[in-house]
């Protein structure tokens, strides 16, 4: 019996959607098994069923030859199944050690045995070769470190199966290497690892086998060494994808937006740049360089200490997002669930929220028009949803992102700011987003795109700003930019300092 896990004929239905149509899945002991597929293909749903977060409507789960029922996450944990979600389940104000053993603290009488707790936590971290301060508060850790803590937590409960859902999305190159190192170590210890990622390169580096999902079905399971990237993409989208980045036709026009001397004490320093009509301006840099802070300041989401913003030469007075939106600016935030969408509301309500006034007379919303417009956007942006009345919560990540985009298109934005537009989005949807960006630019919209993925920045931008420590370090034309030059500017001070 080589399989640690067998899932047979798993079925899951949501109102109006059949998310899983009888899926089989096998996981071997000590293998890294990658799951790929477009958003909504069913891989996340399958993992939620495995983790006890969702109830299945059919099929069975066999763990080490024994049929099991998994009713809730707690039971999954007991059975040795750990899922590390993109949003971590850590308590920010507790220490690393406390988080690792949360709810399972060693006790002496009714008191926590702190010595034992730290000793146990240290043992776990040592086992993984991690160097993290046990007593540090989780809130002070980097995203990568928090992820390590999650993995340590999984190890501490002696998990036999660890599911990593998009573990690399927020990691830097260096951090990713460490994650891979850790993953290999887990593998050696016989843990079965399910690895979900949209970055196909990673799969070739770390995974042993790969299973492709499409439209709620398992399309194929292959040894990674037998397949190519092109093959996987074809399997995922069910068709050939040509260019990674679509051709640009837009020609940059007159100046649209100009930012002068924008300063927010301790965060942004004297930032000046301009954006032309139909231009895609890429902003890149390492995490913490102040990119998100910059666009939030422009958008009025955070206060600024100094600086001016002009739209077509006219000075804008932006004190709140409302002012920015009225001036024709919009921000597609990085964290769409917390900042972009009202998850409990419908697709329709989310699409129209930013310009409801355009749809209403004397405060009354014109319901028929609203439904029609929402329906139009759903069709044109190819948002996969049973109806415009579906709650956004039930949509996949890529479709949620499209709803956010629809919201800003409906608000007739003239400057669209994308903050990590393709994070956590699959290949097919990515291409759609790129195409939409190009279409937007062709209508004369100015686009600012923040991205950490250098190929994306290079492939999409007309010009690139490189930020570092709240300053613009370089402005590169499309022709002169390479991954190397960007990295040189992005790490400038670090290189000089080191």
């Amino acid at each position: 019996m080589d399989d640690v896990l067998e899932m047979k004929g798993i079925v899951k239905e949501y109102p109006g959607v059949k998310a899983l149509k009888g899926v089989d899945f096998h996981l071997k002991r000590g293998e890294v098994h990658a799951l790929v597929g477009e958003n909504g293909a069913g891989k996340s749903t399958l993992m939620k069923i495995l983790g006890g977060a969702e109830a299945r409507d059919g099929g069975e789960i066999i763990l080490e030859g024994r049929k099991v029922e998994i009713q809730d996450p707690h039971q999954a944990e007991k059975l040795g199944i750990s899922i590390i979600y993109q949003e971590f389940n850590l308590i920010p104000f507790l220490s690393v050690a406390e988080n690792i053993f949360l709810g399972r603290e060693p006790r002496r009488g009714i008191f926590v045995d702190w010595r034992q707790l730290y000793a146990n936590a240290k043992a776990v971290l040592d086992q993984l070769g991690l160097d993290i301060d046990l007593k540090a508060k989780v809130s002070g850790l980097s995203v990568a470190q928090q992820q390590m803590v999650e993995i340590a937590k999984a190890i501490s409960v002696k998990s036999r199966i660890i599911v990593m859902d998009e573990p690399s999305a927020t990691l830097t190159m260096h951090e990713l290497e460490r994650l891979f190192g850790l993953t290999r170590k887990l593998k050696e210890q016989g843990v079965g690892i399910i690895y979900i990622s949209h970055r196909l390169e990673e799969i070739f580096e770390i995974a042993d086998r790969v299973t492709v999902f499409r439209d709620g079905e398992r399309i194929s399971t292959r040894e990674v060494r037998d397949v190519t990237k092109e093959y996987l993409i074809r399997e995922m989208v069910g068709r050939e994808l040509k260019d990674d980045y679509p051709k640009r036709n837009a020609v940059a026009g007159q100046e649209l937006l100009r930012v002068e001397g924008l300063t927010r004490k301790g965060v942004l320093h004297e930032i000046s740049f301009s954006l032309r009509k139909g231009e895609i301006l890429g902003i890149t840099g390492l995490v913490g360089a102040g990119r998100t802070e910059l666009v939030r300041a422009i958008f009025g989401a955070d206060p600024i200490d100094k600086g001016e913003i002009y739209l077509e030469g006219r000075k804008l007075r932006i004190l709140s997002p409302q002012d920015a939106i009225n001036s024709g600016l919009c921000l597609m935030t990085e964290d769409r669930k917390r900042q972009g969408l009202v998850l409990g509301m419908t697709v329709r309500e989310n699409i129209t929220i930013a310009d409801l006034r355009g749809l209403s007379r004397a405060g009354f919303i014109h319901g028929v028009d609203e439904r029609r417009i929402a329906g139009r956007f759903v069709r044109e942006l190819n948002i996969k949803t049973p109806s415009v009345e579906q709650r956004v919560r039930n949509l996949s990540g890529g479709n949620q992102q499209k709803v956010v985009l629809a919201k800003w298109l409906f608000a007739r934005s003239r400057v669209v700011i994308f903050d990590e537009p393709t994070r956590g989005i699959d290949v097919g949807a990515k291409q759609e987003i790129y195409r939409l960006m190009n279409d937007l630019a062709e209508t004369g919209t100015g686009i600012i795109m923040i991205s950490s993925e250098l190929p994306e920045v290079l492939g999409m931008s007309d010009r690139i700003l490189v930020m570092q420590e709240g300053r613009i370090r370089a402005e590169l034309g499309g022709g002169e930019a390479t991954q190397e030059t960007i990295m040189r500017f992005a790490t400038q001070a670090l290189v000089q300092g080191g």
Binding site: Q339, H366, V368, R412, L440
Partner: protein, 349 residues
């Protein structure tokens, strides 16, 4: 991919009115299943009391009686529902009932009788409503400007407004109100035509709740109320003036409490500084039993109406059935918990 949404937008003005009507009925039907569990609970309770009281409960007289009795709570709960949908809370409503009752009664007594009596009544009601709105505005102001948690801000108002009510009348009930004022709380619509079947407070409740329902479901501010409760940060980043919407809900809640206070004063024919005690809890209960989520983002006015009905029917039915007083409170508590649990179980599925 066609992005010329602007042109599309300009054409939408010519929507078909017939379609709108159809959509409204459709929307209403859509709302129904959301509340159906609680509706079943309500029907069940009614059936139980009908059997228990040998049909007395279902007598038309008693139905009118129950509707009249719940009207004040339903009006207050309507205001509170708005607040709770934004993930806020307003604990001051019971005290607003008292202070507005006293204030309006004093206006009735003190405005010189050279004015025509209906003028006096109009002014007194206006004054009372204004006072309620003002108190709500004050709570809203401290909540939006100084980020005082709504629970604390309105708890402070709960204490202060009650104290002010006593100070205002020196602790003595204000009475000897003009007899015409009684019409608001005790009168009947078309009494000469159809007899005493349509109490004025029930009409007020109907108008208020229908209006509130329309505001919540069909206007921009209603949509914003849900949006803010669902995700305040995303709402702000979508250009919603969160402060203004929150101010609106607290003012609205104050206004509804004031209306409740005026009806109560008219019903009792006296402005009582100790009136309206624990009304905030009844209103919260009505709202929550009716499916409003204290976490925000969810809730409907029809739900709140059913919630108010359940609580009103329980008290009335137990009085009719002769349930002894200590048990009454125990049963009420159990039913509130049970109703919400049922609703939660339905949502899980």
């Amino acid at each position: 991919m066609d992005l010329k949404v602007e042109t599309e937008m300009e054409q939408v003005g010519a929507g078909k009115p017939s379609g709108a009507g159809k959509g409204r009925i459709g929307a209403l039907l859509n709302r129904l299943p959301q509340n159906y569990v609680i509706l079943l609970v309500f029907v069940g309770i009614c059936a139980l009391f009908t059997i228990w009281t040998d049909g007395l409960f279902l007598q038309p007289d008693n139905i009118v009686n129950v509707l009249r009795q719940i009207s004040i709570n339903a009006v207050i709960a309507t205001g509170l529902t708005f607040v709770i949908i934004t993930a806020g809370i307003d604990l001051s409503v019971g005290s607003i009932v008292a202070i507005v009752g006293v204030f309006a009664a004093q206006l009735l007594v003190k405005i010189p009788s050279t004015f025509p009596v209906w003028g006096i009544i109009f002014l007194a009601c206006l004054g009372g409503l204004a006072l309620g709105a003002l108190i709500g505005a004050f709570s809203g102001f401290t909540i939006t400007r100084f980020r005082v948690p709504p629970f604390i801000s309105t708890l402070a108002m709960w204490a202060s407004a009650r104290g002010l009510a006593f100070i205002l009348c020196d602790g003595r009930p204000v009475w000897n109100l003009p007899i015409q004022f009684n019409y608001i709380g005790r009168g009947y619509i078309f009494e000469k035509l159809i007899g005493p079947w349509f109490p004025v407070p029930v009409l007020i409740m109907g108008i208020v709740m229908y209006t509130a329902h329309v505001i919540l479901t069909r206007t921009t501010i209603g949509r914003y109320i849900y949006a803010i409760g669902g995700n305040e940060e995303a709402s702000r980043l979508s250009g919603i003036n969160v402060r203004r919407v929150k101010m609106f809900v607290y003012i609205f809640s104050g206004l509804m409490a004031a209306l409740g206070g005026i009806i109560l004063t008219s019903r009792l024919a006296s402005g009582q500084p100790n009136a309206g005690q624990s009304y905030e809890l009844y209103a919260i209960a009505a709202s929550v039993v009716g499916g409003t989520s204290l976490a925000g983002g969810e809730g409907t006015i029809p739900g709140t109406l059913i919630g108010a009905l359940i609580i009103g029917v329980l008290y009335n039915g137990m009085n009719l059935a002769g349930v002894e007083s200590y048990s009454q409170n125990v049963i009420i508590g159990a039913i509130i918990l049970g109703a919400v649990l049922l609703d939660q179980m339905k949502k899980r599925k």
